[in-house]
Symmetry: C2
Subunit: 491 residues, 2 copies
């Protein structure tokens, strides 16, 4: 097994190699579309199931809306249409026919041209609000709290596995409310749900904040987000939650009679996370040996590798290994006993390191004699010898410790790569020498934001939600500012 | 709440009304595409989760492959391409632009024409076998046992909610094997998994069989299927499992070195079920009052409806109702306590009948006094009074009884609508007077099959797998036949 390119050598190359070699995903024969391989999909399934649970606990239900959006519906909300028009896949025909000039080949049948083109959904506000129109007449029909798990397509010119693909999997929540306050509260609540998921399940610290107007979702009045910091000092937007005001209700004429008997437009939110989270997961925790998975997301949490010569030794070890496996399974821990006889233990060690299995138990004849095993942690690469007695409880606790340690390590990294700066020169210097989150004053104008972006490629990731007011002056214009914002180069 | 059209009056109208009124699905603004509403989706989720569990128990893993199939890949397996070319959605462009003649409107940007058209997957053999090519070199890479949950598009001219829609949700298994025997075994095994799911989870009896050559999946050497009988005497194909031979391996050049060191093409299967199962579920069990759900698939298994005058009575009833609810929840039973004060009990009774909730518990002041409740079964509409004491265990058992009774009822119906005939006249008479499965001899030719189909609209649903050899003569040609086949009109 060839080693991965190291992170210090070429972070981007390391990432691409890791995704492919750890069997997470690969590029497909379709431009910009990836194949999510079984091991990668198993991790995504765990993310999905946990988020789904959280959505249901907060009162949401799932539904499914059409993949295709007729052009006229797509156009209805102007800003949203404009935002996605330049990167959408368009269905124009509904049939192929035999190519008369090339036997065995097919061509588009010109007689099967659609009267109206269909857009493959880049996001579903349009199709969903067109549906909600039929569901909402009275305040009694509200709120509607729906989530959808689906594929969406955005025609990206430069793609990267998980981070930016033309087709990706995601969830999109779409809610309708009787009042503005309730919709704002929902948007804020779901951003918190995302933060909670990222921190407690992905072991990935995030900053919760508001996007600046120029970074908002097309069609939103306000965009909340969670921003994470990757190991190379670049930020990654890990989830967004939008307060959509009455924009879509107006575009699709969704009105209701309120408690006072007056007719008004409904208030909306939408919120989403995607398979991009897989990229965030990788770039938060992994190392030069491969993937590092938090126990909550690991398809295999513990692997048992026997060290043996000959069948008799293997049989003796197997007996004990299967016992350990059963005990751990009873505790809800997923365990693989790798009794394959083709590959050497060293090969297996490297393989499970590459795949990010949180704990490895190795067991040889001497361990058998001593009634002990060797336990190796993937996250910090430490090893220790432990007695068989009480091993299951020890491992159960250790998995929790690993989860916590991984969060702490990522948190410390972020802390060390979070710099307050008070001048533009310092800003540029930090961005060059110690990239990460840069915390600085901004004058609140799109002009200054744009100038900084053009000159440094850093963008305002968010206006953090929980920060105190602090008087200062902005980086370029020198105008007064009341709070700092978070800058970074970003994925 | 307006009553449903009765089944005897107009079965098709009854079905359409039921789907919409029970909040399962509705037509969307997109031709032939449906919106699966939260209540319908919750039932589909239960189907999906149970099937997913069964697939994993039989050694399969999930993955995700691209939505789009480049035309050249689509063409590669000739029969498959031919089978789906006439009903596929084709993406030809990847961008819209502002319409210079109509401000605010968008048109397809002619400069963003794709070099190669993309087909929205009608099924994924092509894209998947093109991927497997990179995964399979040696017999050690086999078998590959992958399933995918996805949306697919087949451009249907006449659509009906769940039964035939342009876009639908499904799962598609795609496996690769080193030997023919193993692939055949897999195709048979998965057909049995489907039968087991249909019978034990949907309470829907099915016949397992083989399709005739003319009814096979495009590109298959053999198609296994499960066929169910709907209340109106029409059959519904509820799942299919295909032995694909080496057709796709040859089309996509997927070769491997076998144990003997020789190079050969891999053997394939694919198998699928879809949201069509929702239609099958409805038409197997429901009645003129609405949906009837087997307990295994009911999002709400038990509803508690208080009968009260005034707040004090409601409070007294609530106390006991919540206690019942908690006890049932501890047994893993999903219970709704409907303490809404706007709708009358009678309205609620009708509503939960329409939604197919298996058990209704009604509780009034007299019940409170007697320490009893009234229990009503949705499946057979019987009611009884039961003491509070031991109610949770009683209900737990009753739900199992309902599941069994629903299967038995459907099984009896099928038995009563299963007719052996020995002449074509009799065949036509039965089809007219007592439609259902008709069991008759066939000469094995496509000609006789086609003639029967043209003259009666009945098709051969399958050649049942488990039947004995029985000498006879075929319906039209009078040629000798060794076994009967199953005819029916079908959805």
């Amino acid at each position: 097994m060839a080693k991965l390119t190291s992170r210090s050598e070429d972070y981007s190359k390391w990432y691409n190699e890791l995704v492919v070699k750890a069997d997470l995903a690969e590029n497909s024969g379709v431009r910009g579309s990836m194949v999510i391989k079984p091991y990668g999909y198993a991790i995504w399934e765990k993310m999905r199931d946990e988020m789904d649970k959280k959505f249901k606990e907060t009162g949401h239900v799932n539904a499914y809306f059409p993949l295709f959006v007729p052009k006229s519906l797509f156009e209805a909300e102007e800003k949203n249409a404009e935002g996605f028009a330049k990167e959408c896949a368009v269905v124009t025909h509904y049939r192929l026919k035999n190519d008369p000039d090339n036997p065995g080949k097919l061509i588009v049948d010109p007689e099967a041209k659609l009267e109206e083109e269909l857009i493959v959904r880049p996001t579903s506000e349009a199709i969903i609000w067109n549906t909600y129109k039929g569901w909402i007449q009275s305040y009694r029909d509200l709120p509607i709290l729906i989530n959808q798990w689906a594929n969406v397509v955005r025609w990206e010119m430069r793609t990267r596995l998980f981070l930016r693909t033309s087709e990706f999997l995601w969830q999109e929540g779409h809610t309708a409310h009787a009042t503005k306050d309730e919709a704002v509260e929902e948007a804020e609540k779901m951003n918190k749900v995302y933060a909670d998921f990222a921190e407690n399940f992905m072991a990935m610290p995030v900053v919760q904040g508001l996007k600046t107007p120029s970074e908002r979702f097309a069609g939103a009045d306000e965009t909340y987000c969670i921003e994470a910091l990757m190991q190379d000092g670049k930020a990654l937007q890990a989830g967004t939650s939008h307060f959509l005001g009455q924009n879509f209700a107006k575009a699709f004429d969704v009105k209701f009679t309120n408690k006072e008997g007056k007719i008004e437009h409904a208030w909306a939110t939408s919120w989403g996370t995607s398979t991009r989270l897989m990229g965030a997961l990788i770039m938060t925790h992994s190392d030069d040996l491969g993937l590092v998975l938090p126990p909550t997301l690991a398809p295999i949490q513990v692997v048992i590798v026997p060290i043996f010569k000959g069948e008799e030794q293997l049989n003796q070890i197997s007996e004990v290994a299967l016992e350990i496996q059963n005990k751990l399974k009873l505790k809800g821990i997923s365990v693989k006993f790798d009794n394959d006889t083709q590959n050497k233990p060293g090969w297996k060690f490297a393989e499970y390191e590459l795949k990010g299995v949180p704990l490895r138990i190795a067991m040889g004849p001497r361990d058998l004699e001593n009634k002990s095993v060797e336990i190796a942690r993937r996250d910090n690469l430490t090893k220790e010898t432990r007695p068989l007695e009480g091993l299951d409880s020890y491992i159960e606790d250790l998995l929790k410790t690993i989860q916590q340690d991984m969060y702490t390590k990522a948190f410390e990294f972020r802390k060390n790569n979070f710099t307050k700066v008070d001048s533009y020169d310092e800003f540029k210097k930090v961005l060059e020498e110690k990239p990460g989150f840069i915390y600085a004053h901004w004058d609140g104008t799109a002009e200054e934001e744009e100038q900084i972006k053009e000159e440094t490629k850093a963008t305002i990731r968010c206006i953090p939600l929980d920060d105190d007011i602090e008087e200062g002056v902005s980086l370029i214009s020198g105008k007064p500012s009341k709070r700092r914002v978070l800058f970074a180069k970003a994925y």
